[in-house]
């Protein structure tokens, strides 16, 4: 018997999901053909906006030709199916190709609705749906200054973000009285509008566009029904989607009154052996414009084709949580007060710009709907309460009050969730499946992700998934061990205490005292860092040299070709013209690639090992010292120009930044530390994104702590206000040493604070009120560290024995002959290596 032949029309996210389900089901073997009118195989439309922040079409791809070929999936791109012949069970394509099917799956998706406005078909009028659309938008953006999005719904705001990213003056025009009218109530919509307007996007509500004509100042003019107008160079229509049902309609399938291919609970259409899934399908008179229900339909259809009728589609939750133009927004359930007897709790903070509204049933026991704008931390808990129809805690207002973690707020541990609770809606992973995976040996998030796909879609469920993981590990009796590695059965904090109390000075002593083996890349740098934090010896002493990681061991940042970058300290970002000239001369002499860093200094790349001492000799002679860019240590203190020049500055932020940088330079710590000092509340130094941020007020300094940029940005918390210079120094001394003493290895201050029991309040009690009675100890430790400061490069170039290490060969004056460079933009770069894929960095974790 020949294989069953399945044709899938459309290779969007849902069409691909269907194919993926079939590939992964080893109990079936079909012949599969998929047709797409697009030029690409399926890509992630949910993440489409990232196209403008640098992701390529390849980054967004959900699959590739190899994967389909390896799994025997036939695919035809750029060829639209134009006719369905149900009598003969065949499809006909635009190019004239005719193919027979046993089962037909329609996953034709939707198309953007363009309102029938006269003039809507001009060259710079776009929609926002495909990568091709985005490329066209990008192209228009190059010749435009002003852009308008028509439609203030979810997709409209994403399109708005795209215009902002293209650097255009951006307007959003909405017919309804508020933004995201479907998902948000009036209060939420109003706050969202305010936040978006603060970003410079202009919002026009209750505007009906009547025509698009030639503009006077810009390319086009939108005339509104109320007589007003708006000029723009380009337009994106984002006024909702319509199911792509033209093919089904012309072939005689049953279609809903307002469009959509009618399906039953098994995703079957009105014709036998024909299924419809995703946004083209109409279930119970409803089109689901989200990806998760589409995925669910794909699974249901695949099951039914296989003969499994137990799986049914019974509707889907339309709750959403997302970041639009940098604003966190979430919506759950019914939010428009249409449920009889429903009551609501509202929390509205105009200062921090947070709005939360929780609507509950008449008896106060169940969640009806939720709107969250500005702070969506409560989303996970509230969604679970709603989805599982669980009873609310006795005091539901706790759920939306600020500064209360998920769990404490609800009195709802993840333990209370039923096994059927959907944790990840992108991949439809339930708590029960996570439990099974943990029981089968997944003891880390990465293992869990690989095994269940949880948190690999939008990532919104990662914290909830982690909680379930930890809870299950605890239930199964796993001991959560904090041992730093196999050589020391202690946490970093415990190692600090041992070194501090026993006054241990070397790794040998440490191994002898409490370790085994030779050490590793985890414990050696950690112990090296602690030793340096407390005793601040020269890091290249024989006893310490083996502890220094890749960068520290040669006092430079190793680049991909084995050369180094050189970063001298430029405290506070202040530099004289003469010193700037020296940097230029040195870079020129050694042909170093030169780039400015985000921390207001100059980075010079491409120095070979043997050149490092020669370069540093010149720099030190000119008055520079090491910038410790290679160390887990104080990096930079970024400052704005401050009161000396700035018309608005309240304090001399540069002078203060230089003092701070000189005070803490070279301080080794669990991770790098950055400071920022702003001379006024305009915050030009971006101090709130630093580990310690200082902002001048008319009464002193406001001190922010534990902010960071990087992979997971976090704004610093206001720790204390209106501090004098002296207070600030005292608190900073204590804060830094307390962090060094108690943080885990490679833990930034942000994560450290998040894991600190008692949080910010506790930190204040320790640092300001000296609750633990260690303040004087911390200050003394800092004083000792500062006293022992040395410029490591100065020490090195004055020490001939140490300099020998910088020769490439111990037995020859030759240099590495494997290096090669190319010129680009008038500077020198390493010749690109031919590697098939990015090299995986090995991380040692317990």
């Amino acid at each position: 018997m020949s294989k069953q032949r399945i044709i899938v029309v459309g290779n969007g996210m849902v069409g691909h999901k269907f194919i993926d389900v079939i590939i992964n089901d080893k109990s079936v073997d079909y012949e599969v053909i998929t047709f797409s009118e697009e030029s690409r195989l399926a890509y992630d439309r949910v993440q489409l906006s990232y196209f403008f922040s640098g992701k390529s079409a390849a980054d967004l791809a959900l699959t590739d030709e190899n994967y389909y070929q390896e799994n025997g999936i036939n695919f035809v791109l750029n060829d639209k199916v134009v006719e369905l012949d149900f009598a003969n069970k065949q499809v006909l394509t635009h190019s004239g190709r005719r193919e027979r099917y046993d089962k037909l799956v329609l996953a034709t998706g939707s198309f953007p609705f363009v309102p029938p406005i006269p003039g809507n078909d001009q060259p710079h009028c776009h929609v926002y749906r495909t990568i091709d659309d985005l490329e066209a938008i990008s192209e228009s953006g190059k010749t435009s200054k002003v852009g308008v999005v028509i439609g203030g719904g979810l997709l409209g705001l994403e399109a708005g973000n795209a215009l902002v990213n293209l650097g255009l003056e951006t307007h959003i025009v909405e017919f309804a009285p508020r933004l995201m009218a479907v998902q948000l109530d009036e209060g939420g919509g109003a706050l969202l509008r305010r936040k978006i307007e603060d970003l410079g996007v202009k919002v026009h509500t209750e505007k009906a566009t009547s025509e698009i004509v030639d503009g006077e100042f810009c390319r086009y003019r939108l005339n509104f029904a109320d007589g007003s107008f708006l000029e723009t160079d380009m337009i994106i229509f984002s006024a909702g989607i319509r199911p792509q049902d033209e093919l089904a309609r012309s072939s005689g399938l049953s279609i809903g009154e307002r469009g959509g291919i009618v399906i039953d609970n098994h995703c079957q259409t009105s014709v036998e052996d024909v299924y419809a899934i995703g946004e083209c399908a109409l279930w119970n008179n409803f089109i689901f414009g989200l990806v998760a229900p589409g995925y669910q339909m794909a699974k249901v259809a695949a099951a039914h084709i296989k003969g499994d009728t137990s799986l049914v589609f019974t509707g889907a939750d339309m709750s959403t949580k997302l970041k639009l133009l940098g604003v966190d927004v979430a919506s759950i359930g019914e939010v428009h007060g249409r449920t009889p007897g429903a009551k609501s709790y509202t929390y509205h903070d105009e200062i921090e710009q947070v709005y939360k509204r929780l609507t509950v049933s008449a008896d106060g026991k169940k969640v009806i709907g939720v709107v969250l704008v500005g702070d969506v931390d409560a989303y996970g808990t509230l969604l679970q309460l709603k989805l599982n129809n669980m009873d609310l805690p006795t005091n539901p207002s706790m759920l939306i009050l600020p500064n209360v973690g998920d769990e404490q707020a609800a009195g709802l541990g993840v333990d209370a969730l039923p096994d059927s609770a959907a944790i990840c809606s992108c991949f439809d992973v339930t708590k029960g499946e996570i439990k099974d995976a943990v029981a089968a040996g997944c003891t880390s998030m990465s293992a869990l992700k690989a095994s269940t796909n949880v948190s690999t879609g939008c990532g919104g469920c990662s914290s909830l998934a982690k909680q379930v993981l930890d809870c299950e590990l605890a239930n199964l009796g796993f001991e959560v061990k904090n041992d730093i590695c196999e050589h020391f059965a202690y946490s970093r904090h415990e190692l600090v205490d041992i070194i501090r109390v026993k006054k241990i000075k070397t790794f040998d002593e440490m191994l002898e005292h409490c370790g085994t083996g030779l050490g590793c890349e985890v414990c050696k740098p950690a112990v090296g860092s602690i030793l340096a934090s407390y005793w601040n010896d020269y890091v290249l002493e024989d006893a310490h040299i083996e502890l220094q990681d890749t960068n520290d061991i040669y006092l430079g940042n190793m680049q991909k070709d084995g050369t180094y970058s050189v970063v001298p300290r430029i405290a506070g970002g202040e530099i004289t013209p003469d010193k700037l000239i020296v940097l230029g001369e040195v870079a020129k002499e050694f042909d170093l690639y030169t780039k400015l860093t985000g921390g207001q200094r100059v980075d010079m790349f491409g120095a070979q090992l043997h050149e490092l001492p020669l370069i540093w000799k010149k720099l030190i002679d000119a008055g520079f010292e090491t910038g410790h860019a290679y160390g887990k240590s104080l990096r930079t203190v970024k400052s704005c120009v401050g009161s000396t020049w700035c018309r608005f500055g309240l304090k001399d932020s540069v002078a203060f930044a230089i003092d701070i940088e000189n005070r803490y330079k070279g301080l080794r710590s669990p991770h790098k530390i950055k400071f920022g000092v702003s001379g006024c509340t305009r915050e030009c130094a971006e101090a709130q994104t630093k580990d310690v941020g200082l902002i001048a007020t008319d009464k002193g300094w406001n001190m922010y702590v534990c902010g960071n940029g990087g992979m997971r940005p976090r704004h610093g918390d206001l720790f204390a206000s209106d501090l004098s210079d002296e207070q600030l120094q005292t608190y900073t001394d204590r804060f830094l040493m307390f962090y060094i003493r108690t943080a885990d290895r490679l833990q930034r201050t942000s994560v450290w604070l998040e894991n600190l029991e008692g949080g910010l309040d506790y930190l204040r009690e320790v640092i300001i009120d000296d609750k633990l009675n260690i303040a004087s100890e911390l200050e003394a430790e800092m004083a000792e560290n500062i006293k022992n400061y040395q410029c490591e490069w100065k020490t090195t170039i004055e020490n001939p024995a140490k300099l020998k290490r910088f020769n490439h060969f111990v037995n020859s004056a030759d240099i590495d002959n494997n290096l090669s460079f190319v010129k680009q933009r008038e500077q020198r770069f390493p010749t690109p290596k031919v590697t098939a894929e990015p090299i995986k960095i090995i991380e040692l974790t317990e």
């Binding site: 030779l518 083996e546 061991i553 060969f809 090995i842």
Partner: protein, 115 residues
């Protein structure tokens, strides 16, 4: 297994020129060799200096460590670990470093091809 007939030992440097518990790069018959001196066990190891992952001559600048009794060096670029005795990569069965015979004679560190 080693036959020492066809090849001679080449003196590279004095033992005290090696960094304790760290690597040193040597030129040996037009090859780059990374020599590691484990002071704690007084063992010396020699492997190729070329990192097959990062495609650069950097292995001598990697960190030494031990796991379950095996002494290894971790690449300074992407941290893959190689057994210093066999050259085998722990993370990838297909990758290994060439190894060299090494000895100390009269405080001279000497290398020889493994035949």
């Amino acid at each position: 297994m080693q036959t020492q007939i066809n090849s001679e030992w080449t003196t590279i440097c004095k033992k005290n020129e090696l960094s304790p518990n760290a690597g040193t790069c040597a030129q040996f018959k037009n090859q780059q060799v990374a020599i590691f001196f484990c002071k704690r066990s007084d063992n010396i190891y020699a492997v190729a200096n070329f990192d097959p992952f990062g495609q650069a001559n950097v292995m001598s600048r990697g960190m030494m460590g031990s796991t379950e009794g095996k002494t290894y060096v971790a690449s300074p670029l992407y941290k893959q670990r190689f057994d210093l005795r066999t050259g085998q990569c722990f993370e990838s069965a297909e990758h290994s470093l060439k190894t060299y015979a090494v000895r100390v004679a009269n405080e001279n560190v000497q290398l020889k091809e493994v035949s």
